[in-house]
């Protein structure tokens, strides 16, 4: 066989078997050829965490003009969450943690950070925020995002004013290279709430009662614990000093006819103030029960019923005089206790 015929035969042989070859086989051949030439393309792409992208901030809990103290489950306004994602260069799975600071108002009053709650599910079961990082979720896909929902409880009696605190979001990855395996987002003064003035009053549901009296009696004392004394407390949730006033109606008989004027009823005060070292205070003044509150006053009904701080117990002792001829039967009236922000009635 001539040399030409041998080459021709070899080509025909290869062509006949080529139907059994696959494209990859050719690629393999090519690669081998390249290897032989020593030009390998060896590219290593490192794991990267891009910057944290936070949307829907700040974390503002103020509903309209502000919120009352002593109430929980205030949600973040506008949208109830922060939207956390990473920049487009991120190519590794990531983990997320969060921490924050106390919120402080202009007078240095504090709402501690534990009163802020958060989760990723918009469900009442929420974690309390802390000064230290709390790990929230692991192995989030590179281009995924997380919504962090926030709730706030304003403590009972929290002072009014606008509070600010900081919040940090921290992201890290074990799959990223050392020079870019963690990122931090600083939300300085990013948690905020305005606490409004709140005033509250506690009074026993016991009425004031004088029992069964003889006609013409003067200065009869109320029954023990039913007006001798009766205790009004400025509620713990009150966050400003208040003035206390009492007024009442005339007493009517069983048919509804006014029969005993309110001025036949008197009361005087002994105030036990938890915040003073003096255990008992008294004006040694007796007041008659009026139908209306005073139009102006620099304090409450008594001098020490003005500018009362919260959690203060205010005791009053009640008497009745019945120097009215012809009384017989049962008589009823009402007394109302009301507090105002101190100095409001001027």
């Amino acid at each position: 066989m001539s040399r030409e015929n041998s080459i021709l035969f070899f080509i025909i042989f290869l062509a006949s078997f080529s139907i059994f070859f696959k494209l990859t086989d050719f690629v393999l051949v090519g690669a081998q050829l390249e290897n032989i030439r020593g030009t390998t393309a060896n590219v290593t792409i490192k794991g990267v965490l891009d910057n944290i992208v936070v949307e829907e901030y700040p974390v503002n809990f103020s509903f309209l003009n502000g919120n009352a103290p002593g109430f929980g489950n205030y949600t973040k306004q506008n949208l109830p969450y922060l939207n956390i994602s990473l920049g487009p260069l991120t190519n590794v799975r990531w983990n997320i943690s969060i921490n924050g600071t106390n919120m402080v108002n202009e007078n240095g009053n504090i709402i501690t950070v534990e009163n802020i709650f958060f989760n990723t599910t918009n469900h009442p079961d929420a974690l309390s925020l802390s000064n230290i990082h709390q790990e929230l979720e692991y192995e989030i896909e590179p281009h995924d995002f997380r919504l962090i929902y926030f709730y706030l409880t304003i403590p009972v009696g929290a002072a009014n004013g606008t509070y600010y605190g900081d919040i940090w979001v921290y992201v890290w990855s074990n799959e990223a290279s050392e020079d870019s395996n963690n990122k931090t987002w600083s939300g300085l003064s990013n948690t905020t709430v305005t606490v409004k003035i709140a005033i509250g009053i506690d009074w026993s549901l016991k009425p004031i009662d004088f029992g069964i009296l003889n006609p013409g009696v003067i200065g009869a004392k109320a029954l023990d614990n039913y007006g001798w004394p009766t205790n009004i407390t400025v509620d713990r949730n009150t966050n400003v000093p208040v003035d206390l006033y009492i007024n009442g109606t005339d007493l009517v008989d069983e048919s509804g006819v006014p029969s005993i004027g309110s001025k036949n009823i008197t009361y005087y005060n002994y105030t036990h103030n938890q915040y003073d070292l003096i255990p008992l205070l008294s004006d040694s003044v007796t007041h008659t029960l009026n139908n209306t509150r005073p139009a102006s006053s620099t304090h409450g009904d008594f001098e020490n019923w003005g500018a009362i701080p919260n959690s203060t117990d205010v005791f009053s002792y009640w008497n009745i005089s019945l120097a009215i001829p012809g009384l017989k039967g049962s008589y009823y009236g009402n007394v109302t206790a009301r507090i105002f922000v101190a100095g409001e009635i001027e």
Binding site: V156, A198, D202, L205, T238, N334, V335, T336, R338
Partner: protein, 178 residues
């Protein structure tokens, strides 16, 4: 006589539950300023809370010159039991929606009054006791509102002015040519 008093005291203790009402209201006031000559509607919310361990029925009334502008979504509601007056736990609360509608024509520049929250007086004795909390509302009618026309009215006026100017110029040109 002593026996009568003893029976009376026994009945009093038996029928009257020695519980407490403990109400808080927030805020204590609203200061509202609206423009004169402009129909305005403002919505505010008052929060009222209960810390007593028993539910409380709350009644709302409005007094003062402000009352003609105020409408409430309700005038009575029940506040569920709270955690106790000495507790640090959050109180139960209701939000009362308040709508202040000021018409275009109002004769005065200042109105005031209050929204008053009361509970029902206790019964069983000579003097029933109740508590009241009020929220003051001060309404100031400010300076005259500036007239604001919709944009399409402004455009129509501009086009009209241009047309008038063009017609004047055209008329002048016609006379000049004659």
């Amino acid at each position: 006589m002593k026996f009568k008093i003893l029976i009376y005291l026994f009945l009093l203790c038996f029928f009257i539950l020695p519980t407490v009402r403990a109400l808080t209201v927030s805020p204590d006031h609203f200061d509202i300023t609206v423009e004169k000559g402009k129909e305005t509607e403002i919505t505010e919310y008052i929060q009222i809370m209960n810390s007593a361990t028993n539910p409380v029925n709350v009644y709302i009334t409005v007094s003062g010159s402000i009352s003609e502008f105020i409408s409430l979504e309700r005038d009575e509601f029940n506040l569920p039991a709270g955690p106790g007056p000495h507790s640090d736990l959050p109180r139960t609360a209701e939000f009362v929606k308040l709508t202040i509608s000021v018409p275009r024509e109002v004769p005065e520049s200042k109105y005031s009054g209050e929204v008053v929250f009361s509970d029902k007086p206790t019964t069983g004795g000579v003097l029933g006791t109740s508590v009241q909390l009020g929220v003051r509302i001060n309404l100031n009618i400010g300076t005259m509102a500036k007239a604001e026309f919709p944009i399409y009215v402004t455009i129509m006026i501009i086009v009209l002015i241009i047309l008038i100017i063009l017609s004047i110029v055209k008329e002048r040109m016609r006379r000049f040519n004659e």
